[in-house]
């Protein structure tokens, strides 16, 4: 009975179409944000920031981007890391070549570059669908990374092909400690998540979902497939681009194009599938799962004092098995699990 909507009557459509129509949810999210903004900085260690929270937030953002494309617009993509790479390398070059440009602007421009690349590689989606499209997006993945290694201008002719992200300075204030980077990332991700949530609950979002669920019908209703799909590619790549830039600037610092390899694309894909395809919340849950699980498994394996090669392989096996397990328990991901839990709570203590 904790989770009851009884007594919460919506007197206007405005209040009914709030992001979180239920009071409990609103309170919950506020507490969460406050925790993230105030409690976490107080309590967490540098390790937590720089190895857990920051990558978690960045991956969440990338997952959000992919979720927009795959979860909402239904275009399966395996090229996420490529868009991240574009965002990162473009931001780097903007900062390098336009000295004095505000960092955030560079990120946004980087995101826009990624969006443009996204649109270019999204064009085939007008004809190609499903796994065919997925396999075709691998072209993006390999091509972009190849370009970044081949064309040395992108890496400013560095001999080793790596770029070193410039320091993040906003209005004279340097974001140079893990805590500061964490806060910056948190803010960017929170704002972008809010925008994403708004998009998916208004007409754009509906157009994406319509195209995802049944594109012929969507066309008949008057959605323009080309525009809708390309917009999804653009927005998604924009998000991924920003995530990629943060990956370089707030997380790794020095990166080579190879850091944005197929593995990364797959990791992001796991996140949205484990978290929940077509769910903003799911992007976060999935990212948390994929970031934390190996750490937890690693710690576990070491407390068990297994021989190391056994431990490492077991880790991998358990990771795979857990993915399967979760899919079996709930194919719609953690977000759906959470929803079911809420529905059960609503009824609790009665079974139905």
């Amino acid at each position: 009975m904790f989770y009851r909507e009884a007594g919460q009557f919506k007197t206007s459509y405005q209040s009914d179409s709030q992001i979180f129509p239920l009071r409990q949810d609103r309170i919950g999210i506020t507490i969460l944000l406050l925790l993230a903004l105030i409690a976490v900085p107080w309590l967490a260690s540098d390790y937590a920031f720089s190895a857990i929270f920051i990558p978690f937030l960045i991956f969440s953002l990338a997952a959000l981007g992919l979720n927009i494309l795959t979860g909402y617009a239904g275009q399966l993509s395996l090229g996420t890391a490529a868009f991240m790479a574009v965002g990162a390398f473009a931001s780097y070059n903007f900062m390098l070549r336009l000295p004095g440009i505000p960092v955030l602007l560079a990120f946004v421009l980087g995101g826009i570059c990624a969006a443009l690349v996204g649109i270019a590689f999204g064009l085939p989606s007008l004809r190609i669908r499903g796994f065919y499209l997925a396999a075709a997006t691998l072209a993006t993945q390999f091509f972009v990374v190849w370009c970044l290694t081949k064309i040395q201008w992108f890496t400013n002719y560095s001999a080793s092909g790596v770029i070193t992200a410039q320091e993040i300075v906003i209005a004279g204030y340097a974001f140079n400690t893990p805590l500061k980077k964490y806060l910056l990332t948190l803010l960017i991700v929170a704002v972008l998540a809010l925008l994403a949530k708004n998009m998916v609950r208004s007409n754009v979002g509906r157009s994406w979902m319509a195209v995802r669920d049944m594109d012929v019908a969507a066309e008949v209703i008057g959605f323009r497939l080309m525009r809708t799909k390309l917009l999804a590619f653009a927005v998604s790549s924009f998000y991924c681009g920003i995530a990629g830039a943060l990956y370089a600037y707030a997380y790794l610092g020095t990166v080579e194009p190879e850091a944005y390899n197929l593995d990364l694309s797959f990791r992001i894909l796991f996140m949205i599938i484990i978290g929940g395809v077509g769910s903003i919340l799911g992007s976060f849950l999935g990212a948390a799962f994929i970031v934390l699980l190996p750490v937890v498994l690693n710690l576990l394996a070491h407390t068990l004092a297994l021989p190391t090669h056994v431990a490492s392989n077991l880790e991998l096996m358990v990771f795979g098995a857990l993915i399967i397990f979760f899919l079996i328990v709930e194919p719609h991901g953690l977000a759906r699990l959470w929803q079911i839990a809420k529905e059960k709570l609503r009824l609790w203590p009665f079974p139905h």
């Binding site: 796994f131 396999a135 390999f142 190849w146 098995a321 993915i323």
Partner: protein
């Protein structure tokens, strides 16, 4: 001109090797609508098990191969029971994801059982140029590749017959279309899947042996899957002959491109060229060369 033919033939033969891996994908996709990402891992697992068995227990290959086949059967059955059965009628992407989970599991299992060391695998076919062709035409054709191509042709014919001529073939296609309806007409999904995964295991074993003999048996065998993907989309996910034709096209054009276009742009284009080629091709035929037409009727 000789050089051109050499590249072309080399490419075609490599293409057959890709097709061999692609076949495994096609089988499972055709039979269940699942894109089996774990195929690469199965290739690795099969080859490693075979080599592992023969090295550890001093078995001859002729004993190790059937034993491995047995292992692959067990693996197929286990996958059906543990992974697929609970996921009947789920969206494709869920099944796809499950096979990724499976990939990790199989990779971990393989290395846990047999260690992470690379091994050599010697088949009684030597990988040297065929002398006759070398002498008379001065074109290099690898004997190994030719034999591999023959084996592949054999497999393809057998599988193509299986799909087009038998009741099982029809049932497989039905399952791929609609799990629920297939169940409703009494098609035993579990048996079908078990069979298909076993056959896929067999194909993986063949691919694993041939690729293993070529590149050594090591983890990187899982990467050959990446070579099979463009072949698949070009040939069509659902077509056995498509895998072969796609393989030939991809193999030949990728080699020609690397040799003739590569130097102009700095080379190393083999990684993405097949994908871009396949993509361009898809723009003309969205379901690949021989893929089943995508029916969108309202």
């Amino acid at each position: 001109m000789n050089f051109f033919f050499e590249v072309l033939i080399g490419g075609l033969l490599s293409g057959v090797m890709y097709a061999l891996v692609a076949l495994g994908f096609v089988l499972i996709y055709k039979a269940s609508g699942v894109f089996n990402f774990a195929q690469g891992a199965m290739v690795f697992f099969a080859a490693l098990t075979c080599v592992g068995l023969s090295e550890k227990f001093q078995l001859s290959m002729w004993l190790a191969i059937p034993l491995t086949m047995l292992v692959m059967v067990l693996l197929g059955l286990a996958i059906e029971r543990v992974v697929l059965r609970p996921l009947v009628n789920q969206p494709e992407i869920t099944l796809f994801m499950a096979t990724i989970g499976l990939t990790f599991f199989i990779e971990g299992l393989a290395q846990l059982l047999w260690g992470s060391q690379p091994h050599k695998l010697t088949l009684p076919i030597e990988d040297v140029p065929i002398e006759y062709v070398m002498e008379h035409y001065n074109i290099l054709v690898s004997q190994f590749d030719v034999i591999a191509a023959l084996i592949c042709a054999l497999l393809v014919t057998a599988l193509a017959l299986l799909f087009s001529k038998t009741k099982i073939g029809r049932a497989l296609r039905a399952v791929a279309d609609d799990h629920q309806a297939a169940l409703a007409v009494g098609i035993p999904l579990q048996q079908i899947w078990a069979i298909v995964w076993t056959v896929a295991g067999f194909v993986a074993l063949v691919a694993g042996l041939l690729w293993g003999a070529r590149n050594g048996v090591q983890f990187a065998l899982t990467f050959v899957a990446l070579k099979a993907l463009p072949v698949l989309i070009l040939g069509g996910f659902t077509s056995v002959p498509g895998a072969i034709v796609g393989g030939l096209i991809i193999g030949a054009s990728e080699k020609l491109a690397e040799v003739y276009i590569g130097p102009l742009v700095g080379g190393g284009i083999e990684g993405w060229f097949p994908y871009v080629l396949a993509l361009l091709f898809l723009l003309v035929r969205p379901e690949g060369l021989f893929g089943e037409k995508i029916i969108r009727r309202i």
